[in-house]
């Protein structure tokens, strides 16, 4: 019994030393008094506290978009998915193919539209069609942007064997898409 209780306490101490976060220590301690083996969730707590979070700067100068400001556990409540398809539904088909295609599309867009996308690349699949949406800053001439749209649509539809449409919204500068500074 003592041995069983001792082990989680050691784990708990390790958790604190790694984090070095006093607030975590203070808020977790009362639960430890009445804890048993099952109520210990070191990894889950760490996950929620650390994963996909940006470190705040001292003078609050790090700009975050809405997407960056909301953690992954807020998907479905405060923000929605960046990939919309039926593959990830129950009994959906082409799961891996859709995921790999999405990665390819995102990489292609990031490279082709260099430093122009100020939001995440939103990929929506509808029947045979792929719609790519996002926010683009008005940094280049309109004719260049028109060229990029046609170029992207043409090449992606050859590669992915289906019609691809770019549905972009332009913003004047990068700052327009900023949600908050931390």
């Amino acid at each position: 019994m003592t041995c069983a209780l001792k082990l989680p306490m050691q784990l708990f101490k390790l958790n604190i030393s790694v984090l070095g976060n006093q607030s975590l220590l203070s808020c977790r301690l009362p639960t430890m008094k009445s804890m048993d083996m099952q109520s210990l969730h070191c990894c889950a707590a760490l996950n929620e506290a650390v994963t996909a979070r940006y470190r705040a700067t001292r003078n609050r100068t790090l700009p975050l978009t809405y997407e960056m400001a909301k953690g992954p556990f807020r998907i479905g409540t405060e923000k929605s998915w960046n990939s919309w398809n039926t593959s990830n539904l129950l009994d959906g088909k082409r799961r891996s193919e859709s995921a790999v295609d999405d990665i390819f599309i995102r990489r292609f867009i990031t490279g082709t539209w260099h430093d122009l996308f100020v939001s995440e690349v939103i990929i929506k699949r509808q029947f045979n069609m792929i719609r790519i949406a996002g926010l683009v800053q008005r940094k280049v001439q309109p004719r260049k942007m028109y060229f990029l749209i046609g170029y992207t649509e043409e090449l992606l539809s050859y590669w992915l064997k289906c019609p691809v449409k770019l549905e972009l919204q332009t913003v004047a500068t990068k700052e327009d898409a900023i949600y908050k500074y931390i």
């Binding site: 809405y66 405060e78 919309w84 039926t86 593959s87 088909k93 939001s119 926010l135 327009d176």
Partner: protein, 415 residues
């Protein structure tokens, strides 16, 4: 040499024109091989006096050329008229465009003490599917356009009126309206064969739609055929034989046979196989083999009183009653017993059937009152037990405050 450098630097910076005596004097010293004269024919005179380029490729600081951006147009929604045709503005499905939608839409969770993010530069609004292309006028026009491809509903089909009545004559009180239920698989038996809208067989096909380049799905090959057993109009022998052939494909509650074909790669093949299976099974059920008369009583599909051991027992009872000189069992008593037995064995064991069976047996044996009961034996004193009740069974149980529970012969006494 010092003078040369100085003048070169200064001339580069454009400072040579400064009327400074010292500078001028130095320049004279540095650049001219001879003392300057007042001769105007000399090419080196006045402002054209060129600086000496000692370093041919001198670095020049270029300022970054600023691109002239095209003038930003005002949003389209600002110039929209209230009576415009929205279906022309938003004809098909498209991601949200804030400049086109003249609505003050907001979406998202704001930081504290800030308003909700508006429609401009809002990626969340672009993610979600919108139905701006499916406004009621757009749907109406779409229906009107495809109406020429539709055929009228077949006349006389029972639920055609139920489907069309509501749209043609809308009910003023929709809350009070009772839902018109479409006839399911078990319609009213009186109208089955007179109703041209009744189809005795249902064939189910499932199509699957995906957001992907392929329209193929292996689950779409499954064909399901349902037939109501009454519609096959079989005699008792074929009915029983068919039930044995289909096995667990028969649903007792709805009296239907369900055949599922999924072993072939195509739907039509599976449907053909189901039809083939149904035909073969019906033909097999309707043939009577030479050995089928050998079926013993135990294999009968239901209990039959005639020829049963119960009938023999009643006959034996009659014989003994005749020997003892007692009035024999009447036809009515036997009929009641027969019906109770049929209800119990064919209809299933319920409170009513078990009670009725008990009553009918007592009636058959000529016992009008029950004199002894297991419950009273266990739970009551001997005095009470000896005090034989001369009342009916029902009032007896009421008197000892017994409530009927789940099973008929084992009443539970409340504490």
């Amino acid at each position: 040499m010092f003078g040369n450098k100085l003048v070169a630097n200064l001339s580069h910076k454009g400072l040579l024109s400064i009327p400074n005596v010292t500078l001028l004097r130095l320049s004279y010293v540095g650049f001219c091989s001879k003392a300057p004269t007042e001769d105007h024919n000399d090419s080196f005179s006045g402002e054209d006096f060129p600086p000496l380029q000692l370093w041919a490729h001198e670095k020049k600081a270029f300022s970054r050329r600023k691109q002239k951006m095209a003038q930003e147009l005002p949003p389209r929604s600002a110039t929209m008229k209230p009576d415009q045709d929205w279906t022309n503005v938003w004809p098909t499905s498209h991601s949200f465009k804030p400049a086109t939608v003249p609505l003050p839409i907001r979406m998202g969770m704001p930081p504290s003490n800030r308003p909700t993010p508006d429609k401009w530069a809002n990626a969340e609004l672009m993610k979600i599917p919108n139905f701006l292309h499916l406004t009621p006028p757009a749907v109406e026009r779409h229906c009107a356009a495809i109406q020429k491809y539709c055929s009228p509903w077949p006349e006389g089909v029972s639920y055609a009126s139920a489907l069309t009545e509501d749209t043609q004559n809308p009910d003023p009180n929709p809350k009070k309206k009772s839902k018109t239920k479409l006839p399911g698989f078990s319609p009213d038996p009186d109208v089955v064969f007179t109703d041209p809208g009744y189809f005795p067989m249902s064939v189910t096909k499932t199509s699957y739609l995906y957001s992907g380049p392929s329209i193929r799905d292996e689950r779409a090959r499954v064909a399901v055929v349902k037939v109501r057993l009454e519609d096959l109009q079989l005699d008792a022998h074929s009915y029983d034989k068919l039930l044995r052939l289909v096995g667990d494909r028969y649903d007792r509650a709805s009296h239907t046979i369900t055949l599922t074909g999924d072993r072939c790669p195509l739907y039509s093949q599976n449907l053909d196989y189901c039809m083939y299976l149904l035909t073969v099974m019906l033909a097999e059920a309707q043939t009577k083999e030479a050995w089928e008369h050998e079926k013993p009583r135990q294999d009968h599909e239901s209990f039959e009183y005639s020829g049963s051991s119960s009938e023999a027992a009643v006959a034996a009872l009659r014989e003994r009653q005749a020997l003892a000189g007692v009035a024999p069992v009447t036809e009515q008593q036997e009929q009641r017993y027969k019906e109770a037995l049929n209800g119990l064995l064919n209809g299933g064991e319920t409170d009513a059937s078990v009670t009725e069976y008990g009553e009918s047996v007592l009636n058959l044996l000529g016992i009008s009152e029950r004199v002894h009961d297991a419950v009273s034996h266990h739970n009551h004193s001997i005095d009470n037990d000896l005090n034989l009740p001369d009342i009916s069974v029902k009032t007896y149980f009421e008197r000892i405050n017994v409530k009927w529970q789940n099973c008929g012969w084992y009443p539970k006494i409340p504490r």
